[in-house]
């Protein structure tokens, strides 16, 4: 059976070049980078090269990069670490309703532990208003966190403008760039950020690796204690092969991004338009055009439920994801779609296709061939759909 992977926002395959480099560091150059012998030193050198590659990709200095076990840990370190370090300055925090759980749950933990939290709403396309941010900032606001691009609907936030505002007001500005990295330019200076989260497994690097950019001068209380690795910001024997893989993935993404974005945008619009053309009662979620990630398609298919869609797609070899309650443990449909004002029933039948490096027009056309049949079958079964 044909297998078409369209869930790159969940995770990506590791690029073969990245994987084979990692192999070397798993089996041959396996030293602990803290060791002074040559096994250690060759690992140390490669690790520092990876730091340069990651830093270079986002316009940072290598010393400003702290490697972590992923985007989630980096988000936690940024939010919890800064909230603790600056608690004497104030206790007010700001974020948005459409952040990833790694941000939202972390802020909610703080809100239960002596901090005050403002969660900013978004419009029906999932976009934030800069004015709204401005109004939310108070004299005791210490930290503002806004994602660069949304993982579900691909909405790209006006991060640079928000960053300018934060800087004016002396508020530390964190950006979760896990979904934007490798798809649109991410530069810590252009975006005016103080901290920025990236994750390797979303850009054809290995899982279990991420990084937090921390602008020089910003203080952070560490979350993990031990051997003092990563300049005491994050203890634990470094995941050298993983980090080296992440570095390489950044290098490859940097070289390929412009071409890939153009290609993906084409596929994205072909898929989105094709679905709208072939299936009735379908709505596109999120903005269209330049404010949308080049690889994100998100549609709500009325009268059918998301998990049933996913299972049916999977049976014909198509891997997608959904904002349906039924696919998550939580039973509530996507907090992102709800924040965009979508009614429960419609959020229920939403589908995300996230395109990637290997996808082709044939992949898209295959989806356009299969999806209408699946929707028809499920609608025939649905008590909500009256022909």
């Amino acid at each position: 059976m044909r297998r078409v992977y369209l869930d790159h926002s969940a995770t990506t395959p590791v690029d073969p070049e990245v994987a084979s480099l990692m192999m070397t560091y798993y089996t041959e150059k396996y030293g602990n980078p803290s060791s002074i012998h040559s096994f250690g030193q060759e690992a140390r050198e490669a690790l520092e090269k990876a730091r340069e590659q990651v830093a270079g990709f986002i316009g940072a200095q290598p010393a400003e990069i702290t490697f972590t076990s992923g985007g989630t840990e980096a988000d936690n370190l940024a939010i919890l670490g800064a909230a603790e370090a600056y608690k004497d300055k104030g206790k007010h925090l700001i974020t948005t309703a459409v952040e990833h759980h790694a941000i939202l749950e972390t802020f909610e933990f703080l809100a239960k532990n002596g901090y005050e939290l403002t969660v900013l709403p978004v419009d029906e396309e999932g976009l934030l208003s800069v004015d709204g941010v401005q109004r939310a900032i108070r004299p005791d606001t210490i930290l503002l966190s806004v994602m660069h691009a949304n993982n579900e609907v691909g909405a790209i936030q006006p991060v640079a403008e928000i960053g300018r505002l934060a800087r004016e007001k002396g508020v530390i500005f964190h950006v979760d760039a896990v979904q934007s990295l490798g798809k649109i330019p991410v530069n810590v200076n252009d975006l005016n950020v103080d901290m920025l989260t990236v994750s390797s497994h979303k850009i054809y690097g290995p899982k279990g690796v991420g990084a937090l950019y921390v602008r020089k001068g910003i203080r952070l209380v560490p979350r993990v204690y031990g051997g003092g690795q990563e300049k005491k910001r994050r203890s634990g024997t470094e995941n050298t092969p993983g980090i080296i893989g992440f570095g390489k993935a950044c290098e490859l993404a940097q070289a390929r991004m412009a071409d890939e974005a153009a290609k993906l945008t084409g596929l994205r619009d072909r898929l989105m338009d094709g679905i709208l053309e072939r299936i009735d009662f379908v709505k596109v979620n999120g903005p269209r055009g330049a404010k949308r990630l080049p690889n994100n398609v998100n549609v709500s298919v009325q009268y059918v439920e998301g998990e049933s869609l996913l299972l049916s797609l999977d049976m014909v070899g198509i891997a997608a994801s959904s904002g349906s309650a039924c696919t998550s443990g939580s039973l509530d449909p996507s907090h992102v779609l709800l924040a965009m004002g979508m009614p429960h029933e419609i959020a229920h039948g939403s589908l995300r296709f996230s395109l990637g490096r290997q996808n082709t027009e044939e992949d898209v056309d295959y989806v356009l061939e299969q999806l209408p049949k699946i929707v028809e079958r499920l609608r025939r079964m649905s008590p909500l759909f009256d022909q």
């Binding site: 439920e305 049933s308 299972l311 049976m315 349906s324 309650a325 039924c326 079964m381 649905s382 008590p383």
Partner: protein
Amino acid sequence: MYTEKVMDHFTNPRNVGEIPDADGVGEVGNPKCGDIMRIYLDIEGDTIKDVKFKTFGCGAAVATSSMVTEMVKGKTITEALDISNAAVAEALGGLPPNKLHCSNLAADALHAAIKDYYDKQEKAKG
């Protein structure tokens, strides 16, 4: 995630559809997740002669709907009333823990349809 039986019933659901002028119709919504199921019964004497369903819901919801219709077809009303949520889940070879609530839809909708049948009988009599 799902057993082969669940996937079979999801892929080839039995008794999908409606029964025009059914003797009993039951519809329930799952308050936990918003899914909806409707069951139609055709009853002769004490026996369920035909049964159909329509479901808006997850794979487990569809599969349990399909399974419950299979389980009651040709059974007496008393036997049908004995079918529990757990029995439906079991007949499917089990459901993942976070999907156990889905089997509620099926048995509840069946019982609602039987109640509807009785209500209609009452009305017809009275």
